[in-house]
């Protein structure tokens, strides 16, 4: 049974359409991440799920029940806010117990619940402090504790880590993942950080302009993006887009990339990845999407990729690997190679391109062709 079902949801403020035909369904225990650039409607969608914003049309079901017109309190959800939204006048204990108190749960049960989440989140020693006496990470834990105390059907997280510093963010990310694995809760999580999305999610919904562009597992989103936006949004460094002309015919397509001042590079397209859409595009300009890790250093002739060579523009070592900027086509591409690459700017570097993982887009409609 699906824990959350959103069916043809529309939302407009006056004449502005902020959510257009959103359809999402997740199973119980799944971790769904709504990701997208700011203004894409992900927070509005979250507020609609929470019941904090009325929707224009559509249906929201939680645990099989239609909750579209229920108040937030009647929906059996809990939310962790970006600003944590702790009640400043109450102690940590009061904050965690407030939701239970409003639901008229007896005092003894309330205290047991507080103790349970405090142990879970290791905040037992903070229970009698006020939120103003806590650090950012501690406030974050309390905010999560407040949500966990109620044991609702769905947890909503609205960019919960964006106010933490980089190190703490990674720690809390792991913590949230652990918590999800341990408790098996259903979570809807909003973020604009695609790394958070990739690391945490069971399923990701990539949004833009109020529409869900693609809903899928992190692997699907990363390796099989449906359009240029999804491909470009997920992944860091971002996917390289290179203009290329499609040549040949079924079974032996190839992509010709012309770089000013260099010989044309012809990359054969793997025959097993042919699609019907390609037939009508022969001779036309295409957008070839190559992730930085699709490039590798050519060592002998061992690799399975297609060989190419280019003059190195910029070398950026990150420690774990080295990012190299190369001219290719009209612009530049970034290649990610091993940390033992000692290439210098201006040198010519032999590379291999793994075309089996490359993706092809229609440059006008920006949709995936192959």
């Amino acid at each position: 049974m699906s824990a959350l079902e959103i069916h043809q949801l529309h939302k407009s403020f006056g004449s502005t359409h902020v959510l257009k035909d959103v359809n999402i369904s997740i199973a119980s225990g799944e971790f769904l991440i709504l990701v997208g650039p700011s203004g894409c409607g992900k927070s509005t969608l979250m507020n609609a799920i929470a019941g904090l914003e009325p929707i224009t049309s559509g249906e929201i079901r939680i645990g099989g029940e239609d909750v579209t017109w229920r108040t937030p309190a009647e929906r059996d959800i809990a939310m962790v806010f970006q600003s944590y939204a702790l009640y400043p006048s109450m102690t940590v204990r009061g904050n965690i117990a407030f939701g239970l108190e409003m639901r008229k749960i007896p005092k003894a049960e309330r205290e047991a619940a507080v103790q349970r989440v405090a142990d879970l989140l290791q905040i037992s020693h903070l229970l009698d402090r006020k939120p103003s006496q806590l650090s950012g990470g501690q406030r974050q834990r309390v905010a999560m504790g407040r949500a966990l105390a109620r044991e609702p059907q769905i947890y909503l997280f609205d960019e919960p880590l964006s106010n933490l510093d980089a190190k703490l963010r990674v720690e809390m990310r792991t913590e949230i993942k652990k918590l999800h694995q341990r408790l098996g809760t259903t979570i809807v999580y909003v973020t604009h950080d695609q790394i958070e999305a990739m690391t945490l999610a069971d399923r990701i919904a990539v949004m833009r302009d109020g529409q869900v562009q693609q809903l899928g597992t992190p692997d699907e989103i990363y390796n099989n993006p449906v359009n240029v936006f999804v491909a470009g949004f997920m992944g860091s460094p971002a996917m390289n887009f290179v203009d290329a002309v499609l040549e040949g015919g079924r079974g032996n397509y190839a992509l010709r990339i012309s770089t000013p001042g260099q010989e044309d590079l012809v990359l054969p397209w793997p025959a097993e990845r042919d699609t019907d859409a390609l037939a009508s595009c022969v001779g036309q300009k295409m957008l070839l999407g190559l992730r930085p890790e699709h490039f590798s250093e050519a060592v002998g002739h061992s690799g399975a990729g297609t060989a190419m060579a280019a003059v190195i523009g910029v070398v950026e070592p990150t420690g774990a690997d080295v990012l190299i900027n190369l001219p290719l086509g009209e612009g530049e591409v970034t290649a990610r190679v091993g940390p033992d690459c000692h290439a210098r700017p201006g040198e010519r570097l032999e590379l291999q391109v793994d075309m089996r993982r490359a993706v092809l887009f229609d440059p006008q409609r920006e949709v995936r062709l192959a």
């Binding site: 937030p72 309190a73 959800i77 806010f81 939204a85």
Partner: protein
């Protein structure tokens, strides 16, 4: 006169340099000295002089025949002083409490994202722009049984309607409360509104999700956040209450009889019209004590909470 020390000619040497440096450090003090002296003299000097006078037997003119705390003893035995003091307790207590309730209520209602909020806010704030004299005169007419509210309602046909607090000795002090509340509650509303606007929207959303109804959200979550606002409002209102003089003079003149006297009018009446400067000074010192009794704990707690942070 050149003040800029960096432009000192070389031959002026070290002496010229140090002279202009010391001028630079003394100039601000020199410029500020007159105003400091004036305020020291007129505020603290007169305060001390009043204290000194309160220890003498001054009547029409100041005299320096000291009688110890005799004037204070006379004051404590003076029935009119006790009327004034108990009036202050009634007036101050009701004025502060009603202003807070009305101010907070108006602010909560205005905070519901209503239309024309700016207009309403200005409307509620307007009374604050008037002087207490104007307020007093207006309310004197309104409360006058012969031509104000009572006369109006009677002219509608309710012949038995009575609203004559202004001329009832035991009720006159409440007319002061009405007028003062009318004037000051808009200001309290502005304070509360600013406080309400400072509260994070997400806290309210969190409380909604936690299942709290709107009145409960206000009572349990929002109003406790406004404690500092309540505190400043009480501070401001209580010193308005203690200093109230013009309102009494304009509205009731302290009457009927001296039934609506406040300490300030008591002090004025004795020091300047009844040739009892010593007694007046003693009452002024007690008022000062009252203000300090409110101010000192306030400053103490403010400073302490700053240290805690």
């Amino acid at each position: 006169m050149p003040i800029n020390t960096t432009q000192v000619p070389a031959h002026a040497g070290a002496r010229g340099h140090s002279a202009s440096a010391s001028l630079q450090s003394w100039l601000p003090r020199l410029v500020l000295a007159p105003s400091v002296a004036i305020s020291l003299f007129f505020v603290y000097g007169f305060m001390i002089w009043t204290f000194v006078l309160s220890l003498t037997n001054s009547r029409m003119l100041p005299s320096y025949h000291f009688v110890g705390f005799g004037q204070y003893a006379r004051l404590m035995a003076n029935e009119r002083w006790w009327v004034a003091a108990s009036n202050l307790a009634i007036f101050g207590g009701l004025f502060i409490a009603i202003c807070l309730v009305i101010g907070a209520g108006l602010a909560i209602l205005l905070d519901q994202r209503i239309r024309q909020e700016g207009t309403l806010r200005t409307l509620y704030l307007y009374p604050m722009a008037l002087s207490f004299i104007v307020t007093g005169v207006v309310w004197k007419w309104l409360l006058n049984p012969g031509l104000g509210i009572q006369a109006m309602v009677r002219s509608w046909g309710f012949d038995n309607f009575t609203f004559d607090w202004l001329v009832q000795p035991e009720m006159a002090v409440y007319t002061l409360v009405i007028a003062a509340v009318w004037q000051a509650s808009g200001f309290v509303m502005a304070l509360f509104l600013a406080g309400l606007r400072g509260i994070d929207d997400e806290i309210i959303k969190a409380a909604q999700l936690d299942g709290a109804s709107l009145p409960r959200i206000y009572r349990r979550v929002i109003l406790p956040c406004l404690r500092p606002v309540v505190f400043s409002a009480v501070m401001i209102l209580s010193h308005i209450a203690i200093k109230s003089f013009d309102l009494v003079v304009a509205l009731t003149g302290g009457g009927p009889g001296y039934s609506s006297d406040l300490p300030a009018t008591f002090m004025y009446a004795h020091a300047f019209t009844r040739a009892q400067i010593g007694l007046g000074s003693a009452s002024a010192m007690l008022m000062l004590g009252g203000v300090l009794a409110i101010l000192v704990p306030y400053l103490y707690s403010e400073l302490r909470s700053k240290r805690d942070v």
